[in-house]
């Protein structure tokens, strides 16, 4: 193998080198704001205003300030609860729906699929008004589903992540040959056993991509959180807390960037965990 591939590699065209240099430049441009965030978080208080792109005295002061004084930990836990609930429920529900919508043809199926596409287009800003009143009403019947609670936030984020998730997963389920199911049926495997033991693993890359998007949406959501958790300080989520740091008169950039860095870490962990599957997941969604 090595003898075959070596001459090919030597024949790199000059255009390739230019392309690679261009890629490096783009990578650098993309990295600047991200580098700046981490750098500012570690800069000691005196250096924050300086434009120097390095620091010789990195400190954890900003992180400590954020973690101690602002109840950051609590908001962090709130956001994590909401995001993880949304991810788990959205994986389960979108998988079941995608199986049913792909494998079972019924009247109005196309209409339903187009509706899921249309759901992508609803401008969410306007929905905050009815949602506010709905949750307010629900709260007077069942307090846990009312305003300033996390449960309705989970349900709303879930409902908004489902259409795209189902739409994506459909392609994956469709890619599993129906013969496989017939064979399993002949072997006497039960419906549910087939779904979980054969179909589920085959659709897993799609589920991974779906879960990333659901996680990002829920973890990043600002609008719904701001609408539904409008007065209870304890139940705020991180994106709301980030807005609290932003006081025009006393911009604490060190604190803001430390908070931003902390908020980034879970996304990063989640991302590293699934990066390999993300590309195949997204492309599978489009082929369907």
């Amino acid at each position: 193998m090595a003898t075959v591939s070596r001459p090919v590699r030597k024949r790199r065209r000059p255009g390739r080198l230019i392309a690679e240099i261009a890629c490096c430049v783009i990578a650098a441009l993309v990295a600047v704001p991200l580098y700046w965030m981490v750098l500012s978080a570690f800069k000691p208080a005196g250096e924050i205003q300086s434009p120097a792109p390095w620091t010789f005295a990195p400190s954890f002061d900003s992180f400590e300030r954020v973690l101690d004084s602002q109840g950051f930990g609590r908001y962090f836990v709130n956001s994590a609860i909401v995001a993880l609930c949304v991810v788990a429920l959205s994986m389960l529900l979108s998988f079941l729906s995608a199986v049913a919508l792909t494998r079972f043809r019924f009247k109005g199926r196309t209409v339903l699929l187009v509706m899921l596409l249309v759901a992508q287009m609803v401008p969410v800003e306007a929905l905050t008004i009815p949602l506010f009143f709905m949750v307010q009403q629900a709260g007077s019947a069942v307090p846990a589903l009312g305003l300033n609670e996390l449960a309705p936030l989970v349900l709303v984020n879930l409902a908004f992540s489902l259409p795209f998730a189902i739409w994506m997963l459909r392609g994956f389920v469709a890619a599993v040959p129906a013969e496989l199911e017939e064979a399993a049926a002949l072997d006497g495997a039960s419906r549910l056993r087939f779904t979980w033991q054969v179909l589920f693993p085959l659709v897993a890359p799609g589920l991974v991509a779906t879960s990333v998007l659901a996680f990002i949406h829920a973890w990043n959501d600002f609008l719904f959180a701001q609408t539904l958790i409008f007065s209870d300080v304890d139940n705020r989520t991180l994106p709301q807390a980030m807005r609290v740091f932003y006081k025009p008169e006393e911009l604490d950039w060190g604190g803001i960037m430390a908070g931003a860095t902390l908020m980034t870490i879970p996304v990063l962990i989640f991302f590293i965990f699934v990066q390999r599957h993300l590309a195949s997941g997204l492309s599978g969604a489009v082929k369907g």
Binding site: A31, M37, V99, M121, L127, L131, V267
Partner: protein, 291 residues
Amino acid sequence: MPATDSAGLGRGRALAFVAPALVLIGIFLVFPALWSIYIGLTDYTLTGPSSVNPRIVGADNITGALSDPLFGNSLWLTLLFVFGSALIGQNILGFTLAWMLRGARRWLRRLVEGLVLLAWILPSTVVAYLWVAVLDRDGGTLNALLNTPGTAWLVQYPMISLIVFNLWRGTAFSMLLYSSALDVVPPSQLETARMVGAGRFSTLKDVVFPHIRGHVLTNTLLITLWTANDFTPFLLTAGGPDHRSETLPVFIYQQALGSGALGYASAISFLLLLVNLVIALVYLRLLRRRG
């Protein structure tokens, strides 16, 4: 009916599988959407007499919007934003990156993909702060890099800043999609194109594009819709200065919660939904012509 039910799922089980998702979507998405269309037909406001007793005003909000210069302004800015940052920007940059990375060294490919993806998945509140810091008038990184002290980018060039920002943030999706689409193009055809001396443009147009047409359309549709509905500009400029970066989602939010004109805001979001629908119909049309 075995013909309609390849997996032998059974009507009952199929319904049970799909019901929870549909119920949730129905309650939290469809119902509020219909409600907001209804609110759009009234003169409902956050405060004042109309907050207690809203009147049905029919299409008054729509006609009002169509003659409102602020609405026209924000429709234009939205088109600019979508056209500049998504339709042209993310599409072309995403494809170029995917194309260039195809033959690049593996570590370089990983690095670029990782960074671009990172920009995409970071919380919007976080990236908004990053960009406010980078573009800051005093002590901003960009001014230090370009040696242009005192330039308030978000104030002097709000739309260009937003477009560049969205390009930075959103290219990842197009890049990912196009890199996997390019895997579909048979290398032998590219080789043949090179042998017969086809130029780069005609290779792309005649060899690559027919294979990835579906991907291009789907990608364009999704990034168009996402960009048109993107709320992040609010976190960067809040529509200012003087409405110069007030895209429709920001305009809707400002009308609803800034001015308290809930009826008017709902009517405008209905208009935005219609625009989105037209885009989606055009897309479905183009996609169907594929076969």
